[in-house]
Symmetry: D2
Subunit: 359 residues, 4 copies
């Protein structure tokens, strides 16, 4: 793939810059040779520099934090990232698109391409099902390049996937595509580090309450299930139903999802390895491993990678996949950067081509 | 239950005293009003005091560490704990029993009551299947009082369960007994703190390598599966086959196992709660919670409790149980102490009747 | 020391029961053979059970949380613990004393025995210097039994020391008493676990922000300095001035203070060991170690102990003391319990006579 | 500063590639536009790929690990990093220099520029005082660009400083240079993360033994004192004697050193800020902060920076400096890379010009 000839760097606006998703994309933009940060917008700390809130950025990025209506945030940008909760992007994306920007939204607002699908999602979460930009639905694309690379390359509006959903979908997509497992009754047992809950301090994430604590939460339902079922259903052409368990544990960055499906036909680990490796042949960030591999969350930490470990339990006829990402990278800002690269024709790994620092 | 009239305290010997299982039972014996430590035996640090190896014990227990053949370790004891790897207890238990001791062994040596079952276990693990005290098999009891209280109360030889197995069996026993789930295809997704691997330093548990690391290991098989399948099979009278996943994460103490089974009949969470609470009505250490409960590993930390959270996924027809223990307590030394209490007719909670310190 | 003949258990009220200092004393009272909890008072979670807020207490203590003015909290109690911020105890202690209770207050309200000293403390902190119960000052005692055992045994009102101050004072008292170091210019370099900041969630203690973070804070002054200088000054009869540095790091429980003083005369480590061991001869909770001892915060974790490691740097003429406590035990609830024992004539170690669980 | 015109990339050999210091420089070389890795040498894992040992490097660096005598490790390299213990570099550096390489050694072998100074260092540590390449002493330079930039730019042989020493020297250099504090009696209270002890698993760094553990160690003496005293002595032209305390705590990366000196003249915090900022005016990696700054180890994590927080205690006449680095970056591989940049005339921040990922 050739790098596009750029006469100038892309100008980028980040809305929601003071959250973990915001500084994640800031950190990556600082590494990007063809993009520069034009404006940082947030609701908190307005008037301070981003490096006042995050001192590790001092000298690297000292831009001021602007209110959404600040004149300096109103110009034309090439890209706008909405690292914001549900219902912010749907209110403001249209105006950015009208000014010629490409928009990447981190929330659920643009992860569904029909109004019905969005309403189903919002209703299952007990949220307001009205969509403020319903006319945009259908022009948006689900921002997982491994499944929708071509559509993303042509899109102006991308809904960046959820972190849990990313780990589940990447871990299961080849199996659903190959009709390897029963589509109903798949189990997604997901474990996340604390940063997945964002920056806001809560008692349950207070260091002394968390350092020895693992717990499951929201057992009655989780917003990420809709994405998982929808995307996997599209792949196999059949309705998918999963049982999803969210668990949080005392690491900062990382998701490890253990995924179980009932095999529809005999398959050895070698068969599964082959199916998975073929599926991800053109995807630089997904690495498929056999069951004996010694990989874990630190293998992908601070990278945009997804490590997929495949195994089969012949005694019970189960496929078991361990899917591992950094929730703030492939689960959030890294995937957003990957989407930007695909949307603008940059090499997909631009700004994402270095390992994390270990240990 | 009345406390037996004791004219003197029980004299206890701990073999393998310098491991985590050894000091765990030492810590509990220090709280026990009717028992005292008579001898500490280990292979390492012989001649030092236990408080030289574990300075937190200074002033509480300063007994010397004896070699197994030290004369001071040869006398008659009322109880001998073998906190030792496989094949130590099977070699030495007979002599202790002959001197009148009751024996509680932490390893796999006495967790199976027939030679065939032991051979199956050892063979599946790739170990030597010969048993050095085969004539004792059948006199031993699986040391889980919630399932075998009466037999334990009459036993002289108890095989203390494994930590992963304890969490799985306690989480699933009522469902199997009630024929609520399919016995084949149950999923045990287990997460353990690092202390479950014992005291020996290894690179994978070196602090800088572990602090942000979650990983699955030994995906091809785990020794605890045999116990789980055997005990659950006895309860329901049917062959049980589970898919078991062991995962380790950066906490010190705690196991959280998430268990999934296919419901054989419609059941609500309330139905399951009732079945579970009835099953554990006489068991002081198991606490059954609804799906909304905010419990985790810190809820049971440093106690002999098992917290069982029940839920049902009606969309997929799954029973989902979260079973939580402290791997060094209900998963090891605490259960050993509980077994000692049952074997001698003490109240089951003796020395186990206080909460952990929080946070 | 004989245990007093008690016809009944002491009835205890805990004000501020839902903070870490509150549940710490609850946990210890559950172990105490001669005391029972009569009322739990707090401003938050009123009407819930303490075990709703802290599920690890379920079955051990399920008492309701009462508002301060709840009739059930008004009766006569033998002991009242105020585990509350400054200015709560000074408002309410008098009424409790009038009803015959002995009062132990955790705040700065009763750590100074003259109004001038209190005003100095409050002023240096920028707080309101008025004292609501100035007439009680002089009847109160600084609650460190190692320094004031006799006075505490006769007192009705005790000001429980601060956690940092406890570590510094115990580490330096023998040296000041023996005029071993210059009283001006002592350095207290103190490191605390996060629980020392209490239960309230803050961004700086949010798990992802803290897990790899050590920082110094409030370099311009810290409230504990007043206590340290006052108590050490009383011991040596000279004005003491210390440079105090507070640092927080990612453990839950523990303070390690490294203390440096200029030696006024030649002294070897053996000399210092002798002076320190003599000073603490009658104090069961302080253990003095030579410089080669392998002790740390886990040595004293969940106990009321203070480990004091002494060393001398002859090249620079410095005395260096490492003083280690559990900030929630000897630094808070443990010392409060020790004070209660001394005030009522119980053995000083009652309810404090067991090691922590390791690891 | 102009970037030198390079017709080709520098070819780099890393000896000791499998330790933390080795992979640190590998990670940085992967970011360097003018250098490439030519050979990785180690004693362990020979024949495996570096990415077999460190799976996070897969796809980024998959070079084989060579034995020191492997033909592929014998060619001419532009730079050789010895990330090895004492006495390896001194044996092998000469041959590399003879082949035209510039050498950067991480050990104590080339941190001293006279044989007498080396002998003093080795003797104080109880090591063999003979130096295998004494004739090179005097041609080597202490590799701290903030103090020796010009000499390093002309050197072929650089001794990379120790991690503790780096934090102490950078924190104290301006004060000594300005004769602001007494040169005898300075206190260096240093706290390090566990990675400073390297990759080798030991019981004291086993995760369950370390997660709540802070301890001081080697109170009788530490190898880094020699470097600190020597370099600071050179700055002020007077003999310097420090009291040094090493402490280790449960983080992976980071050193925070709190440094105390007796002021020789009145000075306000503003005075000190000015002196420090002038001293470091041309040093891009050192950032000087006032006492109110909210910085800690996470501020510099995964960067080559040193954060220096200055404060004065006028009550006791003390200067207090908090000096913070990432022990694996400015304390090791980052400083080695900085030295390489200076030695070859690259901009000093090349490959070191990005922030860490937070949190």
């Amino acid at each position: 793939m050739d790098t596009p000839q750029m006469n100038r760097k892309l100008r980028v606006k980040v809305v929601g810059a003071t959250g973990y998703g915001g500084i994640g994309i800031v950190e990556l933009l600082l590494r990007h040779p063809f993009a520069e940060i034009g404006a940082l917008v947030a609701r908190e700390a307005v008037g301070q520099r981003i490096s006042d809130v995050y001192p590790h950025l001092a000298g690297f990025c000292d831009l001021p934090i602007l209110a959404a209506d600040d004149p300096a945030a109103q110009g034309a940008f090439d890209v706008v990232f909405f690292s914001t909760p549900d219902r912010v992007g749907m209110a403001d994306a249209k105006a950015e698109l009208a000014k010629g920007a490409k928009v990447i939204d981190y929330s659920g607002d643009f992860r569904f391409t029909t109004l019905a699908a969005y309403e189903d999602y919002a209703t299952r979460l007990g949220k307001d099902p009205s969509h403020l930009s319903a006319e945009l639905l259908g022009t948006n694309v689900y921002g997982m390049p491994e499944l929708h690379r071509d559509e993303i390359s042509r899109a102006n509006l991308v809904g960046n996937p959820g972190c849990f959903a990313t780990s589940c979908i990447l871990g299961l997509a080849p199996a659903l595509k190959a009709h390897l497992v029963k589509p109903v009754g798949i189990i997604c047992d997901c474990k996340s580090g604390v940063s997945g809950a964002g920056k806001k301090a809560k008692t349950t994430f207070h260091h002394p309450e968390r350092y020895e604590q693992i717990n499951a939460y929201r057992l009655s339902g989780h917003q990420h299930v809709c994405e998982v079922e929808r995307e996997l259903g599209l792949l196999g052409g059949e309705e998918v139903k999963v049982t999803f368990t969210a668990q949080v544990l005392p690491i900062s960055r990382g998701i490890l999802s253990t995924l179980y499906g009932d095999l529809l036909r005999d398959a050895t680990e070698e068969d599964v390895l082959r199916i998975y490796r073929e599926f991800y042949a053109g995807s630089p960030f997904v690495q498929v491993y056999p069951s004996t591999a010694a990989v874990g969350t630190t293998t992908v930490r601070c990278t945009n990678r997804c490590a997929v470990v495949v195994s089969v339990d012949p005694r019970t006829g189960k496929l078991r996949i361990v899917s591992i990402i950094d929730n703030l990278m492939k689960g959030q800002a890294g995937q957003a950067m990957q989407n930007m690269n695909v949307m603008f024709g940059f090499p997909e790994t631009t700004a994402l081509d270095q390992p994390g620092m270990y240990p």
